[in-house]
Amino acid sequence: MFPRIVYESFRRQARRKVLAGIAITLGVAVATAMIAVATDIGDKINRELRSYGANLVVTPQEDTLDVEVGGVNLKPPSDGAFLSEADLPKIRGTFWHHNIVGFSPMLPVRVKLASGSGAQDVTLLGTYFNKALSFGKDDFTTGVRITHPWWKVLCGNPGEFPACGWPDDSSQNILVGERLASKLDKQVGDTLDVAGRHLTISGILSTGGAEDDQIVAPLALAQQILGKPGAVRRVYVSALTKPPDALSVRDPKTMTPEVYDRWYCSPYVESIAYQLQEVIPHSHAEQIRQVAQNEGTVLSRIKGLMLLVTLAALFASALAVSAAMATAIYERRVEVGLMKALGAGNLAVSAIFFAEALLLALAGGLAGFSAGALLARQIGRSIFNSQISIEPVLFPIIMTIAVFVTFAGSAAAIRRAVKFDPVFALRGEG
């Protein structure tokens, strides 16, 4: 009898059931999408924060002081220690290599420019632009195009020099900083005499920083000019990190083994710096505090905001579901009256309604979960240009929430319907 009543109720009142089902589907879809976005937003914003540039710098351990004013390095070029370029791919061998977005070695060299008005000292900065490297079986590319996304190559008139753009890492082509280029009156495609070499300018570099007064060249070229093959002055590393907390700032030397393991296996900027020092011999890795310290605050603010908005969304969808259920049940008082007049107890009537609510919640929850997953994907694609992944563990959670909210929303209406006097109901009053 019980299954038949429920079945018939769905068959005969399909319109009402569809309306309630739509409300549940929409509510669950919004909830799923919001939860998916909120759980993934930290990772997404973390990647966007990488557009602030590197958050770690690796320098030789025994380095002398930088004597640098306004981007001009006054230190004798061969002075101080160097890192070895051959060690760099090992950065991909650290524990948190998946979190390392990219790295760029830097080798500033002071060179003399033979221009019309006589010799002139400028800094030539050797680096990777988009260098293909491999570590073990892992092939990857890295360089300033990843770690310094605000660097722009200007071409002026594109028709004049079709090869304009980022130089190849193995070429002898260079980029000239915006201000330096206008001072020297050089255009894209011109050649520049640097330390006795004729180098082609493949683009004008605009960075808004000290590089605007410098020449930027492939690392190998800078090493040739300096006469120190394989030398690197410092390496900028851009890594996805976890915001600092009480554990992150502790000194690893004072930790117990368990705490040390936990610290080592968390992507704090401090522990990544520690791991970089481990793989690169004679190096000192340091966080760039301007970038590293602030991204934690920005990240936690945005995550907190999305969490609160998600709560609001959950609240609104719970309310929409319960409003729809309440309406659907309220319309069926006559049925309740009839059942009770035929001798059904309160329990039996409530059981029928709850069974119907359960079926609706499961069907609506399933449809809503799929719709919400699509919605989250769409949001991820259109805003972050990347997929927002739905954790499979979310499915049972969402279904539980859907059933729970539908029950909670129905409970008050069911109680009222059951308490209603069958006589009034059958007379069509109330």
Partner: protein, 387 residues
């Protein structure tokens, strides 16, 4: 109709009460009685309306305010504009005052002057003169063990310290033959070029080296367009200087802010739509439930226009009351979120109110008119017979 408990219903009492009460038009009385007699249903419809309006208000408030809040957070990244003297020139002495007068009190401008001095064993080291009070507010990320507060105290970068004062002892620097005795106040750690420098108070630095500030770092608040306008203004004011936006900071900020704003926009739209749906479901149920009222009115000879007007007026009243109550609750929610998440109050935007009001009334009207349209096709007799 059922007797509503707590009210008096003998014919005489009703007549007395009606005679005593001020005269109201039939239309208004119908509206009021409908709300009073079916308190439960009216209250649940109003509740849905209030919640929807509150959520919509909170979302709109946040959407507008969060961008300003986040921008303040982004100012922790430090200067986004740098003023540098053109080659061979120096900044005018009143440059700092000019910058502050143009950009207003909320903008932070910090002067820096640079010189290369020599240590007692002949090593070169960069010495910087600045205003510590301002530098401290601009560069939140500087990790400083102690800021200098006495004469001839210097802030020493981590790496510079190993050269000039490894045991935290006083040291001597010379610049073009002029010597100065300095005591280390604290250590500075930033992970960047600052670690190799020594920072001095600007006036001490200037009386020692005679070098005036050559750089002013500015943290200009506001949208990208406002910062752009500020740069333009500064360029006109200080022709001897070059004004450069710090692209690293400006572009990073624009990027993160745009993504956050878009996400917030998408979420706010979803939330507002869901709450509108909630109102729609509740109100449609409410009006549908009252098809007997509708039938009786029609049977008594009410015109279509009157009935439509009646339900529309009811829905509009519900929308207005819901929007007003919801608006204030929503402002409260937004303020609470601002306090919890940003530790700063979210300023109530009363400009949002017309939108919330219009939206609430529109949703209420739609959800009243929809079922009426369906009911119109039904004969009143059928409804009254309970079919």
């Amino acid at each position: 109709m059922n007797a509503v408990p707590g009210t008096l219903h003998t014919p005489k009492q009703v007549a007395d009460r009606r005679a005593g009460s001020p005269h109201t038009s039939m239309f208004a009385r119908m509206l009021i009685r409908a709300a009073v007699l079916r308190r439960g249903r009216a209250a649940s419809a109003l509740l849905a309306m209030i919640v929807a309006a509150a959520v919509a208000t909170a979302m709109m408030n946040l959407y507008v305010d969060v961008q300003a809040k986040l921008r303040t957070e982004f100012r922790n990244y430090g200067a986004n504009v740098v003023i540098v003297a053109k080659e061979g020139q120096s900044l005018p002495t009143d440059a700092l005052a000019k910058v502050e007068s143009v950009l207003g009190a909320k903008t932070l401008a910090v002067p820096f002057s640079y010189a290369v001095a020599r240590t007692h064993d002949g090593q070169s080291v960069v010495v910087v003169g600045t205003d510590f009070g301002r530098a401290r507010r601009l560069n939140h990320w500087w990790k400083v063990s102690r800021w200098p507060n006495a004469a001839n105290e210097a802030l020493i970068g981590m790496r510079a310290a190993t050269v000039v004062s490894p045991n935290h002892q006083p040291f001597e620097l010379t610049f073009q033959g002029e010597a100065i005795q300095l005591a280390p106040a604290g250590m500075l750690q930033t992970g960047a070029g600052e670690d190799s420098r020594i920072y001095l108070d600007q006036s001490e630095f200037q009386s020692w080296t005679g070098v005036a500030p050559s750089t002013i770092e500015v943290a200009a608040n506001g949208t990208a367009a406002e910062v752009e306008a500020a740069i333009h203004q500064l360029a006109q004011l200080l022709p001897a200087a070059e004004i450069r936006p710090v692209r690293q900071i400006m572009e990073g900020e624009a990027n993160v802010l745009n993504k956050t704003r878009a996400t917030l926009y998408a979420s706010a739209t979803l939330v507002v739509l869901t709450s509108a749906l909630c109102v729609l479901a509740t109100l449609i149920g409410w009006v549908f439930d009252r098809r007997r009222d509708f039938a009786i009115m029609k049977a008594l000879g009410a015109s279509e226009r009157l009935i439509n007007g009646f339900f529309a007026a009811e829905a509009a009243a519900l929308g207005v009351v819901g929007a007003i109550l919801g608006f204030f609750i929503g402002i409260g929610v937004a303020a609470w979120i601002g306090r919890v998440n940003f530790h700063a109050p979210v300023v109530p935007r009363f400009g949002v109110f017309p939108y919330v009001l219009a939206g609430s009334v529109a949703v209420a009207l739609i959800s009243a008119i929809l079922p009426i349209g369906l009911l119109r096709r039904v004969q009143p007799a059928m409804i009254l017979r309970g079919e």
